[in-house]
Amino acid sequence: MSAAIETIRFENVSKFYGEVLGVNRITLTLSPGITTLVGPNGSGKTTLMNLMTGLVQPSRGKISVLGLEPSNATEFFCNVGYCAQFDSFPRGLTGFQFVLDSLMLFGMSEEDAHALAVEALERVQLDAAAAHRNIAGYSKGMRQKIRLAQAIAHHPRVLVLDEPLNGLDPMARAESLALFQELGRQGMHVVISSHILDEVDRVSDRVVLITGGYLIAQGNIHEVRQEVRDKPMQLLIRCDKPDLLASKMFAVNHCVEARLHADGAGIFLRTGDVDQFYKILNEIAIEGAVKIEAVAPFDDNANAIYQYLIGSDGSAV
């Protein structure tokens, strides 16, 4: 099986809305798993998703999803589900009718469509009574769930989710993230854009950082962090004597900041040379003066990388 039919590919893709830049010269290949699009408002995340699903056409370049193009609607949308961020629905439908109508357009029998609709509503944990009420009376969280149900109901291989956690309460967010993780594990492509980076970050296999319509970085979150080596890395060290550890670490010049953890049983250290840091930490551990329980990177996440790579005004640094 060729790589093209297993990946989502953007080849030098640009999109202009008249004079306004949507995205520019995006070249990107996404493999199966969970990909998070990260960027400020107006950075081009939604444009990228709309391009991927054919809602807008590229001004330049080529996009293929599993080797398919949106112009081939039947095959394409059997494989792709898109939960867009538009919080609106066709008028006068119940949640169940909305999902059922969508499935009926696949040409399947009414029984099959009914079974898939019930299954999708169960997966997003929308109860049957709510599903048979008019969508107009739904809360924001319920509307988000019904959109998600509609996007996954036909078992697509690619699921594109634009801000899927908006409006969900913490419990529903956790359930949705668990669902995304499960879908990712099943070998699906799950492409997510979200502002709730801390939560999405935990389930992502890779991040794509964009700002001002330009691709800034992409890849595994740890690899991307390594690309930002000029920024001091922050680590959390759990130990019995954080004060002593801080004083020892400040004796070397690559440690630029130290901050005690709120519970007093750990310390955040910021270092400009992580390799040297680990070497010295090992020496301290061998000395036995400080009992080290755990060491973990603390800014090895999409939120921190986002802050490092993208300035407060949304410009690349």
């Binding site: 809305y17 095959e75 949308f77 696949f106 040409g107």
Partner: protein, 283 residues
């Protein structure tokens, strides 16, 4: 979903036909009875209400059947074709695509595994069914109410006389008017964010078209329909402008000419639909 893909590879037309029927069914369910369309029901049924009031009030002074036949012809030609069906179709057909863009729900259909041409044609079909049912029922009421006051003579006219032929001709005019104006308003809604100025220009064009050269008359829905009228409306006063007699054209030529015009407009609509982008923020 692999079954579906196999079907589309082997028999695309059968799948498109299934999708067309299901899409049309969804659209008709949503379009035919809706509170928002009250003003279209009003446009359709206002002549029936007026005829009914006359029937009650003028019960003891009936006018002649010939006069009422002319009045009914006037209602069809001057009211329905130029006003009722025109603006009714504007409301129904411009909502099919543009209305969904305003309500931000069109993307659900564009993200379905249905070719955009099938979506457009199914929507057009659903709009046509809605319009034809509405105006067809209204016309039936008009026809029955117009002659029912004449008792046995009226019944005889409606069932055995010239009535059935006239009714069929009016019904054909209604169907063609709905299809013709419907296709044009669908096109305008695909071309412009606000189809209303274009629709008003079209209204003006339809009004002045009878005095245009015969070549330009081919680009008018009303001019084709005029040739299908079973009863000529006497031209008096300002109505003379709207009822200019042009060179006679055979009914089949008028029907085929109008169907050809509709086909050309729909092909153009399909091309626009393929290029349509969802940018709700600018709509």
């Amino acid at each position: 979903m692999t079954d579906l893909i196999r079907t589309v590879q082997q028999q695309p037309w059968s799948l498109w036909w299934i999708q067309f029927r299901r899409f049309a069914r969804i659209e008709i369910r949503r379009n035919l009875i809706t509170k928002r369309a009250w003003w279209i029901y009003f446009l359709a049924f206002v002549p029936a209400v007026i005829i009914f009031i006359h029937l009650i009030v003028d019960r003891h002074q009936p006018s002649s059947m010939t006069e009422d036949t002319n009045i009914l012809a006037g209602i069809v030609q001057l009211y329905y074709v130029r006003l009722g069906v025109f603006f009714g179709c504007l409301g129904i057909f411009s909502r099919l695509i543009r209305g969904e863009m305003i309500e931000r729900s069109l993307h659900y259909y564009l993200l379905s595994p249905v070719r955009r041409e099938v979506i457009l044609l199914a929507k057009f079909f659903a709009g046509s069914v809605s319009a034809v049912v509405l105006f067809g029922v209204a016309l039936t009421f008009d026809f029955v109410l117009m002659y029912i006051g004449y008792g046995g003579a009226g019944q005889d006219f409606m069932l055995h006389g010239a009535g059935p032929g006239q009714f069929e001709a009016y019904l054909l005019i209604m169907v063609l008017a709905c299809l013709g104006y419907g296709s044009l308003f669908l096109m305008l809604s695909l071309m412009f964010r606000n189809p209303m100025p274009g629709a008003l220009l079209l209204w003006g064009w339809e009004a002045i078209n009878p005095v245009m050269p015969s070549l330009l008359q081919k680009f008018s829905v009303a001019s084709y329909l005029r040739h299908l009228m079973p009863v000529s409306v006497p031209a008096e006063g300002i109505f003379a402008l709207l009822t200019v007699e042009t060179e006679p054209v055979a009914a089949w030529v008028a029907v085929i000419g109008l169907l050809a015009l509709i086909a050309v407009v729909l092909i153009y609509c399909c091309i626009r639909m393929r290029r349509l982008e969802i940018r709700y923020t600018t709509d």
